[in-house]
């Protein structure tokens, strides 16, 4: 029996409608840019207040309240303020921003213009990953359309608020998704993240000026917050987990894809087994990574218990974890970028680990010692384990190396590289130790992951 809630498509309302294209006419027809008009009629501080009241948290992975981030902006320095949209979407398992950019780009542009108005930015950038070739073209076309309608650029809607919007393409580096790495890349340098303190983007960001970096989904939500008001918006979802989230399910399920639900309205089990049609025939669930490959993995047979922030006690199985920000966090992982990766019993966890380690070793920028050497070391260990050279002590060694990376790096990439290893090795220790005695995969598996 299921009380499966329906999707609530706020952001993706029009994206897959066959009568809706990414051209401006469609957007305007559906009420587009009305909220930009509304925002400009308010004071910039009022716009910021609505976003703060809405309680919206960043949808890029960190989950930091966007309204509060805007408050940290240094408005007194006299330096120009910049707004950057992080459209780099490189977290494995995530593919939601792609849908917005390709299918409903004007929503992003409107959201950005409202945000720029609120924070006082006169120049804003969309940093889009290079693999989205057509996406960049679509955005450029949309910006031209918006400009010709007075929704972007000089004297927006005939007022003296001007904000230019530039699409900047990346070139295939995951580290450009890190906000200071993105800023360095935008400045034309190697995307090495900056040390914080002192280089907090809100104070010393792009060209050492105050800068706000927000995710695509977050900025789109800004438009909807202005439409319904911050208080109304905060009623969607749960306290501290407001609004809807676009969850991206991938891996070994029947109907993988992207689904937009109110925060906390369904559980992980409902998502996997009902929305996504469950596992492939004859398979059983082995593990789930709830928030992009950087999040800690959860075992199918694990139990999670404790006390939530609001004081309620919880005792969950994997399927009971509510899909919002706090749920996966309470279970010891995180909702991250919303990328849910499902693994069934044909998966060799050591090979899965090797695949993930290879990703982080490849993507490490190489600036700081622990991440640079540690991520490559972990990759070499797991690769050796998967080619017949595993030793029993490798499990503990992996864990020790990961522990030496976590918390000691310049940016969160260190944690992103360490958490998968820590969680895989701790929760599937037997699989790792088993590798030393036999390099055979699980019985029914022909799947190669490395």
């Amino acid at each position: 029996m299921s009380n499966l809630p329906k999707e609530r498509r706020i952001i993706l309302k029009n994206a897959d409608d066959p009568s809706y294209s990414n051209q401006i006419d469609c957007y305007v027809r559906m009420g587009g840019y009305e909220n930009l008009k509304k925002a400009i009629s308010m004071q910039p501080e009022e716009v910021g207040e609505e976003v703060l009241k809405s309680g919206i948290r960043g949808r890029g992975g960190a989950g930091f309240p966007a309204g509060m981030k805007w408050k940290f902006l240094d408005r007194k320095s006299g330096k120009p303020i910049y707004l950057i949209c992080n459209a780099d979407e490189s977290e494995p398992g995530t593919f939601k921003d792609r849908q917005i950019i390709y299918k409903d780009p004007h929503q992003l542009i409107e959201g950005m213009m409202i945000a720029a108005y609120a924070i006082g930015a006169k120049l804003s950038f969309i940093y889009i990953r290079a693999e989205f070739h057509e996406g960049a073209r679509i955005l450029n076309r949309a910006i031209e359309e918006a400009k010709s309608h007075g929704f972007c650029g000089n004297n927006i809607l005939g007022t003296d608020f001007s904000c230019d919007l530039v699409v900047h393409r990346g070139a295939g580096a995951y580290i450009c998704g890190e906000e200071t790495g993105l800023i360095e890349s935008l400045e034309g340098k190697r995307p090495n993240p900056r040390i914080k303190p002192p280089y907090f983007p809100a104070v010393l960001g792009l060209y050492q000026c105050p800068t706000i970096v927000n995710n695509v989904e977050t900025l789109c939500n800004v438009r909807h917050i202005i439409e319904m008001g911050g208080d109304e918006f905060s009623k969607i979802g749960k306290p501290n987990n407001t609004g809807t989230r676009i969850w991206c399910v991938s891996g070994q399920v029947v109907k993988p894809g992207y689904y937009e639900f109110e925060c906390g309205s369904l559980t992980l089990g409902q998502m996997i087994f009902e929305v996504c049609g469950g596992l492939l025939p004859g398979r059983s669930l082995k593990a789930v990574i709830p928030g992009g490959s950087s999040a800690k993995v959860l075992r199918a047979d694990e139990r999670f218990s404790g006390t939530l922030k609001d004081g309620t006690e919880f005792d969950w199985g994997l399927e009971d974890i509510p899909l919002d920000f706090d749920g996966p966090m309470a279970a010891g992982s995180m909702s991250g970028s919303g990328g849910i990766i499902v693994m069934d019993d044909t998966v060799d966890m050591v090979e899965a680990m090797a695949n993930v380690n290879a990703f982080y070793a490849h993507e490490s920028c190489g600036q700081c010692t622990p991440c640079r050497e540690g991520s490559l070391w972990m990759r070499k260990i797991t690769q050796r384990m998967c080619s017949g050279g595993a030793r029993e002590e490798d499990a503990d060694l992996l864990l020790s190396v990961a522990n030496q990376i976590e918390g000691r790096t310049i940016c969160a990439f260190g944690e992103a590289a360490a958490w998968p290893t820590q969680s895989f090795v701790t929760k599937f220790k037997d699989d790792f130790i088993q590798k030393a005695s036999s390099s055979e995969k699980p019985e029914n598996s022909t799947l190669q992951l490395i």
Partner: protein, 565 residues
């Protein structure tokens, strides 16, 4: 460099004890002031903070304040409650503030250091036996002091280019590089020659120059000094000497009036290399490449090794007598030198006064590079001003001397280490009179001299120079001079004593300095050479504020400098 500090002191707690440190300096420096070492690689006090090696991780906490009221939160016993940052922070980027707590010796910090050391050694080649850096290598030192002591790495190490030519004087071994980026920051910020960079990424990042370009600027060897490992090494010094055999002495570079502080490394009387010595008022931690090669002149072929009279080797006493014969009853001209030490110039002036000789002096000039190679290519032009050898700014030539010889005003010459023929004096004129040449190396003038007296190079004697900022700096003797040679001050003293009625001149440095303090206005009472080696003296430059000094704006030198440093 991101901690501009003022000199007011604040109290912080370092490993449980209260200490005073200047407000705003970073934790690494604060700890060092109290004898606590926070190991680090990428941090350098004279470069911007990179924070990438992560070796200086320490625990940091600050007194907690109530969010709303701003009031300090207290423990039960009244002491401020400390909010410790959950993750360790890097000391080089953490500026101290009043009441800050730092832990540099806790278990977490130890674990951090062991971890970082292990990571640094994971891809590091086992080159110690063939690496020049051994003995002054921070990987060796910190691995011993803070490392785990054993390796758990059994995989293959990365392979990168080895012993490549990065520039004419610098050799690069990419496998040893720990990617601290000190050399890149130096090239960009100090040498202003943006020619180095990292290519590829992750653990395969490699330091390189763009193909076709080289690290060839005149400060390239400073990258070798600051490289904490053996990745950048001096091609000249390669495989010459193990550093633990070297004796170090403090010297001053004589290349120009910048007066870079140097460290001369020698073994058994032979100099093997020169490196810069830190002086925050003069040269920070840098010096030019060209200044480092000056020691090769000590053993060069044209070194004057014996006194001679009319090209015959004679004992010193004979040479001195012959010199005196050149002067007696004649109008003497003395060509002083801006390369002479202050002590030598002082005695030269005494000799000039005694013999009522005419003084001549010329400067040596070149292009100013705006960093540490000034337009004035002599180390002690201002010394000549201080002792009144001249009251005019020295020019580039000695035409006045040529005229004086032509008009018969000068009938004999004492020349200190200059070549007159390239200073505008004709050979014809020089043939007319007896010349006594006191110098270290033979030149066209010394060949024409009647008497040649050998002197000692700056490495073989004690002395002092006044640099472009009017800072008086002393240097120590590094190596013994050639057999039988004595410092120039001894020789000039000898001449003075033999020419005067009351021989009272002493070449001992104590006596010399006592006499100098008494007669030179800019020098305070009681100043000795030993004191000066420990700490330099700022001379008041106002008496010469109208002089047309040629130096341009440079490192630690502004053209309208005041006397206060």
């Amino acid at each position: 460099m991101i901690s501009p500090h003022n000199d007011d002191l604040i109290t912080i707690r370092l490993n449980g004890s209260e200490v005073e440190v200047p407000n705003g300096i970073n934790a690494v420096e604060a700890a060092a002031l109290h004898g606590v070492e926070v190991p680090h690689y990428c941090y350098h006090p004279k470069l911007s903070v990179a924070g990438n090696c992560r070796m200086c991780l320490v625990e940091m906490g600050t007194p907690m304040r109530d969010r709303a009221s701003g009031e300090a939160i207290l423990e039960d016993d009244g002491s401020p409650k400390i909010g410790w940052v959950p993750k360790p922070v890097i000391g080089c980027a953490t500026n101290v503030s009043p009441g800050m707590h730092l832990r540099t010796e806790s278990e977490l910090v130890q674990d951090c250091r062991e971890g970082i050391m292990e990571f640094l050694l994971v891809n590091h080649p086992l080159d110690c036996p063939i690496c020049d850096q051994a003995g002054e290598c921070r990987l060796q030192e910190f691995a011993t002091d803070y490392g785990r002591g054993f390796s758990r790495y059994v995989e293959r190490k990365n392979v990168k280019p080895k012993r490549t030519r990065l520039g004419p004087r610098v050799t690069l071994d990419d496998e040893r590089c720990i990617l601290c980026s000190r050399c890149i920051r130096f090239s960009q910020e100090v040498a202003k020659d943006d020619v180095l960079g990292f290519v590829d990424r992750g653990s395969f990042s490699t330091l390189t120059c763009f193909p076709g370009k080289e690290l060839s600027n005149n400060y390239s060897l400073n990258t070798v000094d600051i490289c904490p490992v053996g990745a950048l090494t001096s091609t000249d010094f390669r495989f010459k000497m193990r550093v633990w055999f070297l004796k170090e002495s403090k010297s001053i570079c004589t290349e120009s009036s910048a007066g870079c502080n140097t460290l001369v490394s020698s073994r058994e009387g032979k100099i093997h290399r020169i490196t810069p010595r830190r002086n925050d008022q003069v040269n920070d931690t840098w010096m030019t490449d060209s200044g480092r090669t000056l020691f090769h002149s000590v053993r060069s072929g044209n070194r004057i090794l014996r006194p001679c009279v009319e090209n015959q080797d004679v004992p010193m006493e004979e040479a001195i007598s012959a010199a005196l014969n050149c002067f007696k009853g004649k109008k003497v001209g003395v060509v002083a030198s801006c390369h002479s030490t202050l002590e030598e110039q002082y005695l030269t002036k005494k000799l000039i006064d005694l013999t009522q000789a005419k003084a001549f002096i010329r400067g040596h000039f070149g292009e100013d590079d705006g960093i540490l190679l000034s337009a004035d290519r002599s180390p002690n032009l201002r010394g000549a001003l201080l002792v009144n050898l001249t009251n005019q700014y020295p020019g580039e030539s000695l035409h006045s001397l040529n005229d004086a010889i032509s008009s018969g005003e000068v009938e004999s010459l004492l020349v200190l280490n200059e070549d007159l023929l390239s200073s505008g004096v004709t050979e014809e004129n020089l043939d007319k009179l007896p010349i006594v040449y006191l110098g270290t190396h033979a030149n066209e003038t010394s060949r024409l001299a009647k008497v040649t007296l050998p002197g000692l190079t700056v490495f073989e004697k004690n002395g002092s120079f006044i640099n472009r900022s009017f800072i008086l700096q002393a240097f120590e003797q590094s190596i013994p001079g050639p057999v039988g040679l004595v410092p120039q001050v001894n020789i000039i003293c000898d001449l003075i004593n033999q020419l005067s009625n009351e021989p009272s001149c002493s070449a001992s440095f104590d006596d010399l300095w006592e006499s100098m303090n008494a007669s030179i206005e800019g020098l305070p009472e009681g100043l000795t050479h030993t004191e000066l080696v420990k700490s330099a003296l700022q001379i008041d430059r106002t008496p010469w504020s109208d002089m047309p000094f040629v130096e341009k704006e440079a490192l630690h030198y502004t053209v309208e400098e005041t006397t206060v440093v």
